[in-house]
Symmetry: C2
Subunit: 381 residues, 2 copies
Amino acid sequence: MTTTTVMAGIPATNLSLFRAIRFKVGDPTALVTLRDADGRERRLLIIRDIEMERAKLHARVDSVHCPADFEPASGLSGDRETATAQALAHCLVGKGVSSVRADRSLPLIYAHFIRAAGVSIECDTEMGVLERRAKDAQELAWLREAQAATEDAMRLACETVARAGVARDGTLLLGGASLTAERLRALIDIHLLERGYENPESIVACGAQGADCHDHGHGILRTGEPVIVDIFPRNRKTLYNGDMTRTVVHGVASPLVTRMHAAVIDAKRAAIAAVRAGVTGESVHHATLATLAAHGFSNGQPSVERVPVISHGTGHGIGLEVHEPPLLAGKGPELVVGDVLTVEPGLYAIGVGGVRVEDMVAVTADGCENFNQLQEGLDWR
Amino acid sequence: MTTTTVMAGIPATNLSLFRAIRFKVGDPTALVTLRDADGRERRLLIIRDIEMERAKLHARVDSVHCPADFEPASGLSGDRETATAQALAHCLVGKGVSSVRADRSLPLIYAHFIRAAGVSIECDTEMGVLERRAKDAQELAWLREAQAATEDAMRLACETVARAGVARDGTLLLGGASLTAERLRALIDIHLLERGYENPESIVACGAQGADCHDHGHGILRTGEPVIVDIFPRNRKTLYNGDMTRTVVHGVASPLVTRMHAAVIDAKRAAIAAVRAGVTGESVHHATLATLAAHGFSNGQPSVERVPVISHGTGHGIGLEVHEPPLLAGKGPELVVGDVLTVEPGLYAIGVGGVRVEDMVAVTADGCENFNQLQEGLDWR
């Protein structure tokens, strides 16, 4: 078993690397973990020269170097990523390392230069995966905090829709102008920005738009129609994400939408009741499907006008990325203590739209902790 | 020469893959480019099932598939990234491909499953690099647009500092409260968000903080001290970035800061005058260093109190990422038509702070186009 491991990439976007070193930087970076015969680790970081002082203060490593510290006889490239890969390879040679293991995220250029230097490299496809899934107490606190901020933004969004004015043609109005998906998104974004969150484009999908579960929505919002609001912001300091969905109707929901919503809430309750360490993600999804089936709704892509179906899995892992393992879906693996998951059943019907409600939960030995407290009804007046 | 190439990753963060397909999605995605004997390309995309319809409409590929379309006899993993890598490998086997080339960004898990399926894979470390560097007319337009939005935010920031009130202890005041780096950053962020830009943490580094060229700055801003403002937002639709820096002083700048600023402006002018296709990034940096030397300033890390030095290169390529090849620094390669570059000389002195001024230019056959028009002085009243 090879005991030296390598990771590399740009920590600002390679979140496995960020998690390993807890240091955010936008330039190519490599991490070597050497282990001695007693299993003691020594972690060595190769980073851009002008980041070294900051890295010495903040990165969780034992020593900090720059590419020039490991310049091979043939020299280093003038390209920063290439030079980092060359330096990583030369560092391994200098330490007498003949083989290394790497995680699944390693960019191929690093493997290329490691092999070219005569060091063998093997991809350990599971390295770091379970470690990232099982969140520690600090990570759980950061996710709780992110979800609380997401709830505040959600309340603002749903109350804004529910309390909007309405024109004679059913268009919602705010401050004398049409309330559009774009305007609501801007309100959400600014609210979150002021609280230290960056927010990728939220889903605000009104009426028939909501039938495609990944349509982000656009244009005018209307009374009497379901509006899916799905918000997934990232804390700019911790980098951990929130993710939740509510569905709001201005005015009176139709009987079909009311029935869809009742089924979705029931499915979410059943799925959350099924979550605990040791059960599979697939079995949690089956709890969703069974509950929706009991309400008369089946699984598949929307194809028949006004016939609601669930067209996606029950949820996914979340942490430093909004979508991480495991999936609550077919083939979803056994859950572990510390998995943080979204539970987000939805129903989608052509010509009607969608209803989705999403919470975030943390898996415990005998169940889960739900990070959400916000109401989940259609009426937010 | 192997004619089949592969790329893979998450297009929302792997910008080489995004550029190849012009389709943004947050889930694992793979692209296979097959070439027939006449060199005609056929581009095949493997993407998450629920994104297929959107990809068929928008992705620049010839056919769209999901992992289940290429399920090997051993089945697909319940993990989305693993399943995409398994499907990519099985797709290659099914097409009779025995070897492929991949770009430098390919995550190692894809190479792992390709090799495990008996297909050889070679990293072409230069694949896509020059293509990404040489921006086309559309990309130049997107970068010009991003830089114009950045100039608007910069004017707001510098004028806010210059026109702020001042307390008896020299603290700047805005609306009755201290004007801090954090408050100025929030004004910049909201201004940009309202115009469709997301904005990573800007640098607002006042006085001595500015001596570390990568300190983002914090706390109270003061009269009479240089404030480095460096803003690098991304357009949420195009994903292209702006990047510029100005240095502003509230009130009267010290003679040393005034002298540093004059040298930096002169160095920027000399560097820009040196830019054209065929010259090296290193030679442009030498123009910067020679000009600063003529003003009495040398190259190195700040070490002596009140002695300004330049501690970084002249600039970097920019496009879908804020930092891309080529570098305007030691070993910087020959420039090509369409390279878009920042030119950002700076001087940094312990106990004084920093002065940096940064424009963005596009390389042409006989010079460059400067995307900036904003004034570059210290005084923004």
